[in-house]
Symmetry: C2
Subunit: 680 residues, 2 copies
């Protein structure tokens, strides 16, 4: 093989000298296989004139060891339920994943797809996009998210293994993460969760290349990362990431560890690039023709762009079939397993027989009882009906269990001692919780729901966005949903949060008005397999508004809760805790001879999906008045330009809830006055 | 003093036994002073029937040591520029702060205020609210934020000390944080920043009470917190938080440390409550009359509610005057200091003479040059005009300097070696950056601006919200503001982000259309002393649209960029990178005989502040068409119900930018077609 003449003085860039030493070592099949990753990454980025070659070039050796010796997968069936999960948390290095899937013989990711890297409709998108290819386990790119997803996946494995037994569920979760992932705060939350639950089948390979976009990592961080992970209860190791045998020994040790493992793989970013290796210049841009050719020369790579020589292709494809036997054995075990149908149902995301009946029975009870309770309490009652009927529901709270009412009597806590438990005390880690929930959902076999205060949706927003982008069934129970929480004040009172969530595509934001609507919204959230949901719930008690339980009226997003006694002169449109104010206002207005309808709008997104005719019929032609204890941003859509909004105009304040509603003028009286003014 | 008969078997609640041992020790003045905090917290929470007594009761001893022996402050002037900063990061324990301010003799927080704890208009809000009292350094409650604010304050101190000298700036920053603060991911980012910059004048007292809302911390965390902070380069200590002498020794050591210091103060939450101490039951609810009286009995406290015996009041008020001499000396030093005026100007948040002229000159140049550049590049040019003229501007980026274009030639980097540096490499820590920036602004003397991608506003949203709530001048440069970023795909393409920011009260969201508007928006953001701003900037080049520089047209939020040639038949309203598309569409429409106006709307919030007449004049009576490469959520307000929106309807995709604009139908042609359809 060729050795390279450094274009940069090694004394200026010490990585170059190290690279030369490595390139001078005897060429092995493993190195050649890794080089295949490198050249595909270089070629694809070069052709797209866009992308991140440095990371795949650096971590290629470690990834080769992982995909040829440790990762359990079968390219013939990338969705095999008991496969190991692989998460490329440093998603900008997407060509690493695409190269690996291509080389290991996965269908649907051929040379043409790599040539179309970062082009419209290509499987090989700029960052790995869940759904683009069945072997892409999760969408990554926003740093740290993949690592936290993997924690959720590893939790799902432990839980399902406890539920269905090791013969069906016994796999590992592997992550490749970069410095960015570990600098992000979410990595703290996720790693702490993993350590606490002793997720020993989780292994993180840290691409410790010492480089981030702004330059050497030493300009931004002085962390002792290994010590840090030890503090979370992780096993840690440090290896030369270009020494495949050393990497193999570290991965081997990880498979025997009683703790999650972090392996710092010391690598040279952009390995083989003769002048740019070891610098941030190779992180996020094409190498350029000259540097690219010199890198290939340095590797002794002579094949045409995107072409892989047969002698390298063959061992790669063999690696892709390495676990085919394991999969066949597993299929045999599954075929004989007494819980086969239940396992397949849960993994397919289908709800069990009887779940709907449980919901209907619960609603019938509510219709009789007409309880005056907070919708957070109503949510707990709905959970008491649904969770026992749906064994894959796994709840939790970010340390607000008693406030979120997310626990269910008799459902055990998930812990090291009881991995079959279905309630997770997530700690004060909203972001880690939300991202791990994405991982639970992505793994399959689990429907996760969370709890925190609505205002703290902000802490988990990057993960909520990804759940929406990936269309995962992840349900967030967000209580204390307005100034109605009272004394905790503006830091805890969402005013902009509802709008900020409603704007996220594919996310259904439910804000039920009473116990009945809460039960309906829960059923809708659980039944929806292709997207996340938020339930915004009140702290304060609310009267029951509906005495019939037959139809799930929330399913259309909005409906006429009370029609006007004669031709409408006003329509009051409200959500959640303000619907009963609208009902009170209607009573006054009707008594004054102003026929008034009340529309409850528990889910804007579902209402928007209805046909124009239905929406028009519900909203009517009379002047419209919106009532919501939040900012009016977005309400124009329903109220029209001539509408009136009764709600917040800024942040809240600290005081008892009743005082606040009066102070901010969100009352039945205010609604009545607004109607009077308008009709005067 | 009385000893207590435990209402709970100490073997069930070991905290009770420990509490008894402590209560049996000889009573000291320090303990009595701490007890004053305890009873005020108990009384206020009891009266409000709402609040968090447990934390103040637990940490009272350590807080007493801090406020009587170490914290440099003068109750007579809580805004003294060289005071130590004290941040109660665990903001739910607000009564701790109110009790301390009250006891130390601060004006404006009398007994009546404590009696009105958590009532409307009370200084003593549920959580400490910046602005309610001059001694409240920051708004806390959302966990972890205060700790990260403190990191920013400590950075400000180091920076201003380097700039103005130790004789004017030489103070410490002290934090009381709880388990929640340290579990949050933001604590990782903030602590890592503090360690990296060796902020040795920052000391964190961790109220290590082992209890969170869901119960014992061991159910959620197995972290070795001290080891973790050591990994960040912190000094760490562990003390009995009820042993005031031990706390004093630890604080003393902290003042001599070359590193930031974390002191784990082992405490009993709700100390003195005979049955609830050491349990989560005392965290967030009133004790109840019986338990409260028993706690007072245990302390030997006999004064009436809210009353402080003279012999305890006296030493507390003396403590509040402890640093009066230091302040007088400092005032003398200031009076003689050559930079007195400059220091006072910067601390008052007033911009220097000449800054505006620098901006105007820059715009005049742009009017001549008419550069076709990305607005992120235009932002860099604006910074090159403003940053040298405004020495308190301190920029940075979360590891995207080259992409955000936030650096300015000749401005040195802030580092341990050069604390006078004004550019911060924040690392991949958006949340920590944003929260520390809040601290920089709150400290005074610094106007911080950041950089990251617009989509990653989500990562820092909790801190952006707090900047808005506190009305701090914090400026976020958020580039790559639409599908125009191209190949990085939907994870990196904001579609909902603009709306999600526009809904935050007091936040000004600027989306300039060209270099001229970018310069204008920068001037507006910098000149606005009472609130944060976001600049949403394009990755891609944009043509210059304005050749005159006289008036800052962006100041009104929106304006007619091009009037129709005759009576308007259509008005195209656009922001940022879509304004030039509107101009292209206008050209075609005018050529077709459809008189069309183009309105640029760089800042919705400023436009909303204009009078109806101006807004009506700008938007006109002709049908309106909105164009923005984002979701239409919120646009109804400007377009009316009869309006047409041309933009995104969901998440983006990975492809070159031009392909994406065509794919998603955000083009001049699409706008022309929409107008034609409407007018047909």
């Amino acid at each position: 093989m060729a050795s390279i003449a450094p274009a940069v003085d090694p004394s200026v860039n010490p990585a170059i000298a190290a690279q030369q030493r490595i390139l001078a070592l005897p060429l092995t099949e493993g190195r050649r296989m890794a080089d295949a990753i490198r050249v595909l990454a270089m070629d694809a980025v070069e052709k797209a004139k866009s992308g991140h070659p440095g990371m795949p070039m650096g971590i290629a050796d470690a990834a080769t060891v992982l995909f040829t010796k440790y990762l359990k997968y079968d390219a013939a069936d990338p969705r095999w339920a008991d496969r190991d999960r692989f998460v490329l948390s440093a998603g900008h290095g997407s060509m690493l994943l695409y190269a690996l899937l291509h080389l290991t013989g996965h269908a649907g990711i051929g040379t043409e797809d790599l040539r179309n890297f970062r082009q419209l409709h290509s499987v090989a998108a700029g960052h790995p996009e869940y759904g683009e290819h069945p072997a892409i386990e999760t969408t990554t790119g926003p740093l740290g998210q993949g690592l936290a997803n993997a924690v959720g996946m590893a939790m799902a494995e432990r839980h399902l293994s406890a539920r269905f037994g090791k013969s069906l569920v016994d796999h590992r979760t592997w992550v490749i993460a970069g410095d960015g992932c570990l600098m992000e705060g979410i990595s703290h939350e996720a790693a702490s969760i993993a350590g606490h639950f002793r997720l020993n089948k989780l292994t993180v390979l840290w691409d410790d290349n010492g480089i981030s976009i702004d330059g050497d990592v030493t300009i931004t961080s002085s962390d002792d990362v290994l010590r840090r992970f030890q503090s979370y209860g992780w096993a840690v190791r440090r290896v030369d990431g270009h020494d495949q045998e050393a990497v193999a020994r570290a991965l081997d040790a990880a498979t025997r560890s009683g703790k999650p493992t972090l392996i710092a793989c010391k690598t040279i970013i952009g390995f083989s690039a003769p002048s740019k290796a070891g610098t941030s210049g190779v992180h996020g841009a094409a190498l350029g023709g000259v540097e690219l050719q010199a890198a290939k020369d340095a590797l002794g790579w002579t094949a045409a762009p995107f072409e892989i020589p047969e002698e390298i292709k063959t061992p790669w494809e063999a690696a892709g079939r390495r676990s085919a036997g394991s999969r066949r054995s597993w299929l045999k075990r599954l075929a004989k397993h007494p819980q086969k149908a239940e396992f397949e149902r849960a993994m397919a995301g289908k709800l069990p027989d009887g779940w709907h009946e449980a919901g209907v029975a619960h609603r019938a009870k509510l219709a009789e009882e007409m309880p005056k309770i907070a919708t957070r309490i109503a949510s707990q009652r709905a959970l008491e009906a649904l969770v026992p009927a749906i064994p894959e529901m796994m709840g939790g709270s970010a340390d607000l269990t008693g406030s979120n009412n997310t626990n269910v009597r008799g459902i055990p806590v998930f812990s090291v001692q009881n991995l079959a438990g279905r309630y997770v005390h997530w700690g004060i880690r909203e972001h880690g919780m939300a991202a791990a929930m994405n991982g639970l959902a992505l793994h399959g076999g689990v429907i996760p729901y969370s709890g925190t205060f609505l205002v703290f949706a902000d802490y988990m927003r990057p993960s909520i966005r990804l759940a929406a982008l990936m269309r995962q069934r992840v349900i967030h129970v967000l209580t204390h949903d307005s100034i109605g929480l009272g004394e905790d004040g503006p830091t805890h009172q969402p005013v902009e949060t509802l709008a900020s969530l409603r704007v996220i595509p594919h996310l259904h934001v439910f804000r039920p008005a009473d116990a009945m609507e809460t039960a309906e919204c829960w059923e809708l959230a659980v039944a929806r397999a292709d997207g996340p949901a938020v339930l915004a719930l009140s702290r304060q008690n609310l009267p029951a508004l509906r005495a019939e339980a037959g139809e799930n009226k929330s399913a259309r997003g909005g409906y006429v809760l009370a029609e006007a006694s004669a031709m409408r002169r006003a329509t009051l449109v409200a959500t959640g805790s303000e619907v009963h104010l609208a009902m009170q206002a209607r009573e006054t207005l009707e008594a004054e001879g102003i026929p008034t309808a009340v529309v409850s709008l528990p889910c804007w997104e579902l209402f928007a999906l209805q046909d124009d005719g239905y929406r028009q019929q519900v909203l009517g032609d009379a002047p419209r008045f919106g009532i919501e204890a939040a900012l009016g941003f977005g309400w124009d859509r329903w109220l029209g330009n001539d509408g009136t909004f009764i709600g917040m105009t800024g942040f809240g304040a600290s005081a008892p809830a009743d005082d606040l509603f009066k102070h901010f003028g969100i009352t039945a009286e205010a609604a009545v006055a607004a109607v009077r003014r308008k009709l005067a």
